[in-house]
């Protein structure tokens, strides 16, 4: 079935979770390793 909205939903879900997980990983770097510092 070429069910376009469902495919779009699946891709959107995958990309959102990809971005969110990457963001969480980047945020947790400074928590895990205190030597790291966020630079502007």
């Amino acid at each position: 079935m070429k069910d376009i909205p469902v495919i779009q939903g699946a891709v959107l879900l995958a990309s959102v979770s990809y971005v969110l997980i990457n963001l969480l990983v980047d945020l947790s770097y400074s928590r895990i390793d205190p030597r790291l510092r966020v630079e502007g």
Partner: protein
């Protein structure tokens, strides 16, 4: 900490950009993909008129920018669109979907792989679900007209079919209409501009409810369907792979193909 907040803002903006780009890219890819979803929904023996009507219902007859703006506008309100196959709101359906799990998927397989072994309609053509009908080209038309009427009250395609749709709605007894009030998770559209879409969704809900309520007829049709599905479940991957290859190598441009031809691509079935 101010630098952390700035980091978060920057990252959120770039993340939004990434998601926007992904959504746009996927939208364009799916738009330019060969194959007409209306033909797939309509079934193999659909008349050109009913295919055109389904195309209008799905909204795939509109220009690219209109579809894109509509999709993005819905997305901004948390509306991921409505499944072509089951007429349900998409929502988080991809998360919990097992291929071959839902009824519409099983019906689609039955249509594609067993055109000769199609089970007879025990209810005399009363199965009115979009994907589960034994004769989608005949049965689905009144339903689709009702949907179209709800979505575009003055659509040109609809002229001449409105009376049929109204008659169909009147034939539906009370509970089917009351099903419009069922709580549905994706009713977040405001009532002003998108009232028509909401009505369409409600009509789809009523229709699904109607199909589900037809216990005896639906059950009688479902048993041979499940048997057929079980019978050919062993060689599914091979079939779909072969079908996908055929679509890739054989299909050139945007030609209209018979419904079964492009429907066999494996990822299309997954979704």
């Amino acid at each position: 900490m101010p630098s952390g907040a700035a980091f978060l803002v920057r990252r959120s903006l770039s993340s939004a950009l990434v998601i926007l780009g992904t959504v746009t890219l996927v939208f364009l890819i799916l738009y330019w993909l060969p194959g007409d979803p209306a033909e797939l929904v309509a079934g193999e023996n659909a008349t050109p008129e009913s295919v055109a009507r389904i195309r209008a219902i799905l909204g795939t007859d509109r220009p690219l920018w209109a579809q894109y703006l509509d999709y993005m506008g819905g997305l901004a309100q948390g509306d991921l669109g409505t499944s072509f196959a089951t007429q349900e709101p998409v929502g988080l359906r991809p998360l919990g979907t097992v291929p071959g799990d839902d009824r519409a998927d099983a019906a689609g397989q039955r249509r594609r792989h067993h055109p000769r072994r199609r089970p007879r309609c025990s209810g005399g053509g009363q199965s009115r679900q979009l994907g589960g009908s034994c004769h989608p080209e005949r049965d689905a038309v009144p339903d689709l007209d009702a949907l179209l009427l709800a979505r575009h009250p003055a659509h040109p395609v609809l002229l001449g079919h409105a009376a049929m749709a109204a008659g169909h709605r009147q034939r539906q007894p009370g509970p089917a209409r009351a099903a419009g009030g069922l709580p549905r998770p994706h009713r977040r559209r405001p009532a002003d501009a998108h009232g028509a879409g909401q009505r369409a969704g409600r009509a789809a809900g009523a229709l699904r409810h109607h199909a589900a309520r037809q216990g005896p007829a639906g059950a009688a049709g479902a048993v041979p369907a499940r048997a057929a599905q079980r019978a050919d479940s062993g060689d599914h991957p091979v079939r779909h792979h072969r079908g996908g290859a055929a679509v890739r190598h054989g299909g050139g441009g945007n030609t209209l193909r018979p419904a079964g031809a492009s429907a066999a691509c494996w990822w299309m079935r997954w979704a």
